[in-house]
Protein backbone atom coordinates (compact mmCIF):
# COMPACT_ATOMS: atom_id res chain seq x y z
CA UNK A 1 0.00 0.00 0.00
CA UNK A 2 1.82 3.07 -1.22
CA UNK A 3 0.63 6.40 0.11
CA UNK A 4 -0.08 9.28 -2.22
CA UNK A 5 1.82 12.47 -1.53
CA UNK A 6 -1.26 14.36 -0.44
CA UNK A 7 -2.19 11.55 1.94
CA UNK A 8 1.16 11.77 3.67
CA UNK A 9 0.77 15.52 4.00
CA UNK A 10 -2.55 14.92 5.76
CA UNK A 11 -0.83 12.48 8.12
CA UNK A 12 1.94 14.93 9.01
CA UNK A 13 -0.53 17.76 9.52
CA UNK A 14 -2.70 15.57 11.74
CA UNK A 15 0.27 14.45 13.83
CA UNK A 16 1.67 17.95 14.32
CA UNK A 17 -0.88 18.64 17.07
CA UNK A 18 -0.14 17.33 20.62
CA UNK A 19 -3.82 16.76 21.46
CA UNK A 20 -4.27 14.62 18.38
CA UNK A 21 -1.16 12.63 19.26
CA UNK A 22 -2.57 12.11 22.77
CA UNK A 23 -5.84 10.89 21.26
CA UNK A 24 -3.94 8.42 19.09
CA UNK A 25 -1.98 7.19 22.08
CA UNK A 26 -5.23 6.63 23.98
CA UNK A 27 -6.64 4.70 21.01
CA UNK A 28 -3.52 2.52 20.92
CA UNK A 29 -4.88 0.96 24.14
CA UNK A 30 -8.27 0.19 22.58
CA UNK A 31 -11.28 1.65 20.82
CA UNK A 32 -13.08 4.57 22.45
CA UNK A 33 -16.09 6.80 21.93
CA UNK A 34 -15.92 10.59 21.62
CA UNK A 35 -17.23 10.84 25.18
CA UNK A 36 -14.47 8.56 26.49
CA UNK A 37 -11.82 10.42 24.50
CA UNK A 38 -12.96 13.84 25.75
CA UNK A 39 -12.85 12.82 29.42
CA UNK A 40 -9.08 13.26 30.07
CA UNK A 41 -8.90 16.52 28.10
CA UNK A 42 -10.12 19.89 29.27
CA UNK A 43 -12.17 20.37 26.14
CA UNK A 44 -15.65 19.88 24.86
CA UNK A 45 -16.81 16.87 22.89
CA UNK A 46 -17.25 19.25 19.94
CA UNK A 47 -13.58 20.22 20.11
CA UNK A 48 -12.55 16.57 20.31
CA UNK A 49 -14.83 15.80 17.37
CA UNK A 50 -12.96 18.36 15.27
CA UNK A 51 -9.66 16.67 16.08
CA UNK A 52 -11.19 13.30 15.23
CA UNK A 53 -12.27 14.61 11.85
CA UNK A 54 -8.68 15.62 11.05
CA UNK A 55 -7.44 12.20 12.16
CA UNK A 56 -10.15 10.47 10.15
CA UNK A 57 -9.29 12.43 6.97
CA UNK A 58 -5.66 11.39 7.41
CA UNK A 59 -6.91 7.81 7.82
CA UNK A 60 -5.09 7.52 11.13
CA UNK A 61 -8.36 6.41 12.73
CA UNK A 62 -11.57 4.87 11.51
CA UNK A 63 -15.02 5.24 13.04
CA UNK A 64 -17.56 2.48 13.09
CA UNK A 65 -21.22 3.22 12.44
CA UNK A 66 -22.58 1.62 15.58
CA UNK A 67 -25.70 3.47 16.71
CA UNK A 68 -24.98 6.94 18.10
CA UNK A 69 -21.63 6.17 19.74
CA UNK A 70 -19.45 5.63 16.64
CA UNK A 71 -16.39 4.25 18.48
CA UNK A 72 -13.00 5.25 17.09
CA UNK A 73 -10.25 2.81 16.37
CA UNK A 74 -6.65 3.28 15.42
CA UNK A 75 -5.18 2.60 12.00
CA UNK A 76 -1.57 2.01 13.03
CA UNK A 77 -0.33 1.16 9.55
CA UNK A 78 -0.71 4.69 8.28
CA UNK A 79 1.40 6.15 11.08
CA UNK A 80 4.02 3.46 10.61
CA UNK A 81 4.42 4.57 7.00
CA UNK A 82 4.93 8.20 7.97
CA UNK A 83 7.40 7.32 10.74
CA UNK A 84 9.23 4.98 8.40
CA UNK A 85 9.71 7.76 5.85
CA UNK A 86 10.96 10.17 8.52
CA UNK A 87 13.34 7.64 10.05
CA UNK A 88 14.82 6.71 6.69
CA UNK A 89 15.19 10.35 5.74
CA UNK A 90 16.77 11.27 9.08
CA UNK A 91 19.19 8.35 8.75
CA UNK A 92 20.28 9.48 5.29
CA UNK A 93 21.10 12.98 6.55
CA UNK A 94 22.77 11.73 9.74
CA UNK A 95 25.08 9.45 7.77
CA UNK A 96 25.71 12.16 5.20
CA UNK A 97 26.90 14.52 7.95
CA UNK A 98 29.02 11.74 9.50
CA UNK A 99 30.83 11.35 6.19
CA UNK A 100 31.05 15.13 5.74
CA UNK A 101 32.71 15.43 9.18
CA UNK A 102 35.22 12.74 8.20
CA UNK A 103 35.82 14.49 4.88
CA UNK A 104 36.43 17.83 6.63
CA UNK A 105 39.18 16.13 8.68
CA UNK A 106 41.08 15.42 5.48
CA UNK A 107 41.02 19.01 4.19
Amino acid sequence: MAVLEDDLTLVFTALADPTRRAILERLSHGDATVHQLAAPFAMSQQAVSKHLLVLERAQLISRARVGQSRPCSLDAGRLAEAVSWIETNRQVWAERHDRLAAHLETL
Partner: protein, 143 residues
Protein backbone atom coordinates in the same frame (compact mmCIF):
# COMPACT_ATOMS: atom_id res chain seq x y z
CA UNK B 1 2.58 21.74 6.95
CA UNK B 2 5.10 20.02 9.06
CA UNK B 3 8.65 20.90 8.26
CA UNK B 4 11.24 18.26 9.01
CA UNK B 5 14.46 19.57 10.50
CA UNK B 6 17.88 18.06 10.84
CA UNK B 7 20.70 19.88 12.65
CA UNK B 8 24.41 19.20 12.83
CA UNK B 9 27.33 21.26 14.09
CA UNK B 10 30.63 21.00 12.24
CA UNK B 11 34.04 22.39 13.12
CA UNK B 12 34.38 24.45 9.94
CA UNK B 13 33.44 27.85 8.57
CA UNK B 14 30.11 28.47 6.80
CA UNK B 15 32.04 29.20 3.64
CA UNK B 16 33.87 25.85 3.65
CA UNK B 17 30.66 23.95 4.39
CA UNK B 18 28.83 25.80 1.63
CA UNK B 19 31.67 24.86 -0.71
CA UNK B 20 31.47 21.20 0.35
CA UNK B 21 27.72 21.12 -0.29
CA UNK B 22 28.01 22.67 -3.74
CA UNK B 23 31.19 21.21 -5.27
CA UNK B 24 31.12 17.78 -7.00
CA UNK B 25 34.71 17.04 -5.90
CA UNK B 26 33.60 17.38 -2.27
CA UNK B 27 30.09 15.94 -2.63
CA UNK B 28 31.39 12.67 -4.06
CA UNK B 29 33.12 12.05 -0.71
CA UNK B 30 30.01 12.20 1.45
CA UNK B 31 26.74 12.54 -0.47
CA UNK B 32 25.52 9.00 -1.14
CA UNK B 33 23.73 7.05 1.58
CA UNK B 34 25.77 4.31 3.30
CA UNK B 35 26.24 1.38 0.97
CA UNK B 36 26.24 3.60 -2.10
CA UNK B 37 28.81 5.71 -3.90
CA UNK B 38 28.26 8.89 -5.88
CA UNK B 39 31.09 9.10 -8.42
CA UNK B 40 32.30 12.52 -9.51
CA UNK B 41 30.95 12.09 -13.06
CA UNK B 42 27.50 11.35 -11.59
CA UNK B 43 27.16 14.79 -9.99
CA UNK B 44 25.85 17.89 -11.76
CA UNK B 45 25.99 21.24 -9.97
CA UNK B 46 24.86 24.33 -11.85
CA UNK B 47 25.09 26.73 -8.93
CA UNK B 48 22.54 29.44 -9.72
CA UNK B 49 18.79 29.83 -9.14
CA UNK B 50 17.16 27.64 -11.81
CA UNK B 51 20.34 25.58 -12.21
CA UNK B 52 20.39 21.80 -11.97
CA UNK B 53 21.54 19.77 -8.95
CA UNK B 54 21.62 16.10 -9.89
CA UNK B 55 23.27 13.14 -8.26
CA UNK B 56 23.21 9.51 -9.35
CA UNK B 57 23.98 7.23 -6.43
CA UNK B 58 25.21 3.73 -7.20
CA UNK B 59 24.47 0.83 -4.88
CA UNK B 60 27.76 -0.90 -4.04
CA UNK B 61 26.28 -4.36 -3.65
CA UNK B 62 24.14 -4.71 -6.77
CA UNK B 63 25.25 -1.79 -8.97
CA UNK B 64 21.74 -0.35 -9.18
CA UNK B 65 21.54 3.41 -9.57
CA UNK B 66 19.21 6.04 -8.15
CA UNK B 67 19.13 9.57 -9.53
CA UNK B 68 18.01 12.58 -7.51
CA UNK B 69 17.04 15.46 -9.78
CA UNK B 70 16.65 18.88 -8.24
CA UNK B 71 16.73 22.53 -9.22
CA UNK B 72 18.33 25.25 -7.11
CA UNK B 73 15.88 27.95 -6.02
CA UNK B 74 18.17 30.02 -3.78
CA UNK B 75 21.94 30.20 -3.83
CA UNK B 76 23.28 32.60 -1.23
CA UNK B 77 26.86 31.89 -0.24
CA UNK B 78 27.64 31.22 2.56
CA UNK B 79 24.31 31.32 4.41
CA UNK B 80 21.61 29.55 2.44
CA UNK B 81 20.99 26.94 -0.21
CA UNK B 82 17.53 25.85 -1.37
CA UNK B 83 16.66 23.21 -3.93
CA UNK B 84 13.48 21.55 -5.09
CA UNK B 85 13.18 17.90 -6.10
CA UNK B 86 11.96 17.65 -9.69
CA UNK B 87 10.03 14.41 -9.17
CA UNK B 88 8.39 15.03 -5.81
CA UNK B 89 8.44 18.85 -5.40
CA UNK B 90 10.04 18.34 -1.99
CA UNK B 91 11.90 21.45 -0.85
CA UNK B 92 15.26 21.18 0.88
CA UNK B 93 16.57 24.34 2.55
CA UNK B 94 20.05 24.30 4.07
CA UNK B 95 21.06 27.14 6.35
CA UNK B 96 24.64 27.63 7.52
CA UNK B 97 24.70 29.34 10.93
CA UNK B 98 28.07 30.75 12.01
CA UNK B 99 28.52 30.04 15.74
CA UNK B 100 31.55 32.40 15.82
CA UNK B 101 33.76 29.91 17.62
CA UNK B 102 35.11 28.09 14.60
CA UNK B 103 31.99 26.00 14.33
CA UNK B 104 28.95 26.18 12.06
CA UNK B 105 25.52 24.71 12.56
CA UNK B 106 24.07 23.24 9.39
CA UNK B 107 20.27 23.25 9.54
CA UNK B 108 18.43 21.18 6.95
CA UNK B 109 14.71 21.90 6.62
CA UNK B 110 12.56 19.76 4.36
CA UNK B 111 8.99 20.45 3.40
CA UNK B 112 6.45 19.02 0.98
CA UNK B 113 7.56 15.56 1.97
CA UNK B 114 6.95 12.96 -0.73
CA UNK B 115 5.16 9.67 -0.91
CA UNK B 116 6.53 6.75 1.01
CA UNK B 117 6.49 3.02 0.70
CA UNK B 118 4.49 0.97 3.10
CA UNK B 119 6.17 -0.75 6.00
CA UNK B 120 3.64 -2.71 8.08
CA UNK B 121 4.30 -2.36 11.78
CA UNK B 122 2.79 -4.11 14.73
CA UNK B 123 0.48 -2.19 17.00
CA UNK B 124 2.93 -2.84 19.83
CA UNK B 125 5.41 -0.40 18.33
CA UNK B 126 2.85 2.30 17.90
CA UNK B 127 3.46 4.36 21.04
CA UNK B 128 7.21 4.27 20.51
CA UNK B 129 6.72 5.51 16.99
CA UNK B 130 4.42 8.25 18.15
CA UNK B 131 6.91 9.46 20.76
CA UNK B 132 9.70 9.39 18.20
CA UNK B 133 7.60 11.35 15.77
CA UNK B 134 6.73 13.95 18.40
CA UNK B 135 10.38 14.32 19.37
CA UNK B 136 11.36 14.70 15.75
CA UNK B 137 8.91 17.37 14.78
CA UNK B 138 9.16 19.37 18.01
CA UNK B 139 12.92 19.34 18.54
CA UNK B 140 14.36 18.39 15.20
CA UNK B 141 16.98 15.67 15.21
CA UNK B 142 20.27 16.43 16.87
CA UNK B 143 22.85 13.80 16.17
Amino acid sequence: MTELTFRRIHRATPDLLFTCMTTPEHLSHFWGPDGTTTPLENITVDLRPGGAFETTMVNQSDGSAYTMRAVYLEVERPVRLVWQDVDSDMLTRITFVDLHDGRTEVVTHQSRVPATVASPQAQAGFVTSLARFAAYITDGARA
